[in-house]
């Protein structure tokens, strides 16, 4: 089960509001490569993974993504709090303001609400982990675009750089998990070639569950 800790994973204290920037950054809250999407990906895939390592990596990165979700929500909130109607108008946030006021709503930069269509759990360990590596790359790329867009805002950029760096670490760990799963599947193939008896399948199942 999950427990909430009343702390952010990395400190965020943005003093200068900037609603326009919030309009783009919200994509990492509820966009197609955003944190809630990543978390749902990994937490959905972890159940049926064939080995302890990839279960752990999916569980633990899926958990860290929830901390990032809170961080991105904090950025959006601090960039928009106390915004005047004039600032909301100037930032082009009228449509957002109409439907959500100053709540933080999971949507993409383009205004599409978060959807599980972009969550991926394929029922195939290799496909899942390769998808996850791509997801981390896409999230990294998104953070880099957001860093480009926030060049004038050092406080925001500092946090975005931290989040970008975490995506790189996650990519690395998923790569290692993938290698472990591939090795595991290779082992099983060798094992089945050396045994041709009809009990082979049950031995295989046993071996899988021991991993």
């Amino acid at each position: 089960m999950w427990n909430y800790s009343k702390m952010l994973q990395y400190p965020i204290n943005i003093k200068e509001k900037n609603p326009k920037l919030a309009r783009w950054i919200i994509s990492q809250y509820g966009g197609p490569d955003g944190e809630i999407n990543a978390s749902l990906n990994y937490l959905s895939q972890r159940f049926a993974m064939p080995d302890q390592r990839s279960k752990a990596v999916l569980n633990d990165i899926g958990t860290e993504e929830l901390s990032h979700l809170e961080m991105v929500g904090t950025i959006v909130h601090q960039l928009t709090r106390d915004a005047t109607m004039e600032e909301i108008n100037n930032a082009g946030l009228q449509a957002y303001y109409t439907d959500h006021g100053i709540d933080v709503y999971p949507q993409s930069a383009g205004g599409l609400p978060q959807t599980s269509i972009s969550v991926s759990a394929k029922g195939d360990p290799i496909a899942n982990l390769q998808n996850d590596m791509a997801a981390e790359q896409k999230a990294r790329a998104t953070y880099e675009k957001l860093i480009d867009l926030s060049k004038d805002d050092k406080e925001v950029m500092d946090v975005l750089r931290y989040l970008r760096a975490r995506e790189v670490v996650h990519f690395q760990r998923f790569g290692e998990a993938l290698r472990n799963v591939q090795d595991l599947l290779m082992e099983k193939r060798c094992y089945s070639m050396s045994n041709t008896s009809s009990t082979n399948n049950s031995n295989l199942m046993q071996q899988t569950s021991n991993n």
């Binding site: 089960m1 427990n3 972890r46 159940f47 302890q52 390592r53 279960k55 752990a56 569980n59 633990d60």
Partner: protein, 94 residues
Amino acid sequence: MYYNCVTSRDNSNMNKAELMNQLQSYAFAINDLILYLDTHPNDETALELHNNYANEYRKMYEEYERRFGPLSIYCPCNSFRWIASPWPWEGGNA
């Protein structure tokens, strides 16, 4: 309302499943009491109950980790045991 009967006791003769069951009971009671206290922050009885349960929970949590391995990533360990035991969805607490 909950029985106000929390007294510190020796759990060393409890097995893994019994200890987990007790831990889950405390966790649930604490969770439910917090929801109540969120909207009734001045209720002294609820506060005292929460305090008692939280103390017991902490002790029991530490005992479980000491005897059966880490429950969270913040458990200090000399050897890496985080992936050694089955996950909750695999019946890891039984």
